[in-house]
Amino acid sequence: MSQSMSQTDQSAHAGKLTAANEAIERRVLEQTWGDKPGLWGALTSINHKTIGKRFIVTAFAFFILGGILSLLMRIQLARPENHFLGPDLYNQIFTMHGTTMMFLFAVPIMEAMAVYLVPLMVGTRSIAFPRLNAFGYWIYVFGGIMIYVAFVLNVGPDAGWFAYVPLAGPQYSPGKRVDFWAQLITFTEVSALVVATELITTIFKLRAPGMSLNRIPLYVWSVLVMAFMVFFAMPTIALASTSLILDRLVSTHFFNPAEGGDPILWQHLFWFFGHPEVYIIFIPATGFVSSIIPTFVRRPVFGYTALVLSLISTGFIGFGLWVHHMFAAGLPRMGESFFTAATMMVVIPSGIQIFCWIATIWAGRPIFKTPFLFALGFFFVFILGGMTGVMQASVPLDLQVHDTYFVVAHFHYVLIGGAVFPIFGAFYYWFPKFTGRMLSEAMGKLNFWLMFVGFNLAFFPMHYLGLKGMPRRVYTYPALAGWASLNLLATAGGVLLALGVLTFIVNVFVSRRRGALAGDNPWNAATLEWATTSPPPSYNFFRLPTVAGRDTLWVQPEDQPVIVGLRTDVRQVLVTKMLDAEPDHIEEFPKPTIWPLLTALAATGLFIASIFTPWAVVWGSIPVGIALIGWFWPKEKQKDERPPEEVKENVAKQDDAYLEEVA
């Protein structure tokens, strides 16, 4: 079997625990930590795995919707002067595509995976602030539903996902389209901020004892950096979108040059968020790659410290690049030069990461399973995108390629290569853990190759199209321009890419029922989530582990201690110190509750109503206030005053048949 010790072995070694006692304890833990049954259970759940899975599926659904929108765009652009979509609908579609992919898929999927994986990887029972976690999911999905309902009702935004003023301002975007977009920002930004809060707290304070900072898995480091970036970037876009709504709703003049405002202010505010946003998307993806590569080359990653420092420096430097989106806007030359240098500088930490990974592969023995293929695909596509990124860092060259299909090619290479390929690799890697079954390898390889070939076919020609003068965001182009054949090729590639994604969906549906059973650790991987069953029980680990080193499951000795002091009938979690994860105190976590959902509903009402009238902020606060009061109303600690043995005895009596089964 595997080298790692299963929880049963560990606890058996730690104390005198028979199989029957263990079964009873597990039942008690399940009762304490499990969700209630049925629809009510689904609505009140605060379990990070339930919410994580929901989050992942929802984000993936938005990915599909965004992909369908992109196929519609590609059909329109396949031929010159095509009449498949008129300009108004096309503008709405490309805006919705960008908005969906950036706000409703890319950041949420990274957060979703983190919500599921991080508590398991750090060896605890729950994410920090579990009720806030539920609220974060609900507010996200309500925002996503709002914008799609708006789209169906012809109130979908049509000013681009970046909504430059004055086009998105009150004069040139009549109606409520842009207001819905701006309010979607509020939904997704609140969701991202609350999830970032929980992740930082979990990573800093809920780690298993022995998991000092230099023993945290690289994926967890990447989530930490991402969460801090969210903290600093999201408020900027909140400020920007609020200013935009104020301009449109109550006639402030933030972006009105005639009354002292400036359209460039919007660009600064948006891109100060917008550039870190892409690193928020990319950095957790590097965490996936750092998890997949060691497992599939059978050795710990090379250069752990360098990789961690690269993540942190990318996070910092990423905040100093935003003006490279504005090189054509006429800013002072000295300023522009600074941002050229900074943009080139951010390549260095990414380069360090790439070289360390290649070194890991070099010194390892690669196994070509699907997750590893996606990691290799990531290398090819992302690095190519990075090269075109360095090109655009140069102001003169950017003046030619800015706002052309060259840029479209660049960012799809870095986003799809840098985020989507790792995400698919992560899906294949962790699907066994989520569901207990393996995805089909054959379909996985087909999935990979369809996506890889389709993607390159779709987006590589766009580099050339941009250099030959094709601007972005155009609903059609003249036949005279000579761009037709490459556009048709790009459409064909898009279809192949879509087929690849479809293969994945089929793979998921088929393997959920009929995939091979996975067992605890099918890949023989090193991180802690593989030390429990697949899927994990609601309480994550039977006995909370302690950690002896990095790449935990590979290095821990036979007699690695586990934690036995926590009550199983009460939601107790061990809180540890930040640097070295020494045990600090025991915290009691809340039980499932409906209040996060109600608060999210109230907040949704407030946000949507404030699109139409400023008074909504006043009247809408009342339901939110009531919901928050219900949420935070102090409850008596639900401690069971009976001694633990009596609790277990009661559970044992309740189900003799179960006992007989395990005895």
């Binding site: 012809n154 006639s251 972006f255």
Partner: protein, 177 residues
């Protein structure tokens, strides 16, 4: 359980398949009122029983795009040369509740197309019909007749007056003056 959750989302979508009239961007539509507007009377005095035609609804008054077009045309065609931003100058104010020749949609249409004594030019055949309806809708919105969510908000210009979306609705009163 999860199934019913997704079903409810689909239901929410399908219930709302009616598109929102406020947001339609008609690039060359005639509002339905076009034909009937030519049967205008300037006075209520009639022999025998009075037959007042049913009031005409100008759908553009609820359409944000049409109202913003009306606002654009208002300055493009130099209405503000005489009427300023609605406060009037050489011409009477348009943002108050007094309408010399009537403030109903068809009456405003008539004023623009036929012209009026004392200086209002006739724009017949100079301004296309649908644009006259857009202008009429905008003119009425200056006194708050349009719904707040459709009325235009501030322009990217010096702010001369409160935007139409923040104008309190005034009654439409005819006044012979």
């Amino acid at each position: 359980m999860r199934f019913s959750y997704y079903i409810s989302i689909v239901v929410a979508f399908s219930v709302l398949l009616v598109s929102c009239k406020r947001e339609e961007r008609g690039f060359r539509v005639q509002p339905p009122a076009a034909r009937a507007a030519n049967s205008q009377t300037l006075t209520d005095l009639q022999p025998g029983a009075s037959t007042s035609p049913a009031g005409i609804r100008n759908d553009f008054e609820e359409n944000a795009y049409a109202l913003s077009e009306g606002k654009r045309l208002y300055s493009a065609y130099n209405c503000n040369g005489c009427h300023a931003q609605g406060g009037g100058g050489m011409g009477p104010p348009l943002m108050d509740e007094r309408w010399i020749y009537g403030g109903k949609p068809e009456q405003v249409y008539s004023t623009i197309v036929e012209g009026r004594p004392n200086g209002m030019p006739s724009f017949r055949q100079k301004v296309p019909e649908f644009q006259v309806w857009q202008l009429a809708a905008y003119v009425r919105s200056m006194s708050g007749q349009s719904p707040k969510d459709a009325a235009p908000s501030r322009d990217d210009h010096l702010q001369g007056k409160q935007p139409e979306s923040q104008t309190k609705p005034l009654p439409v009163k005819e006044s012979k003056q």
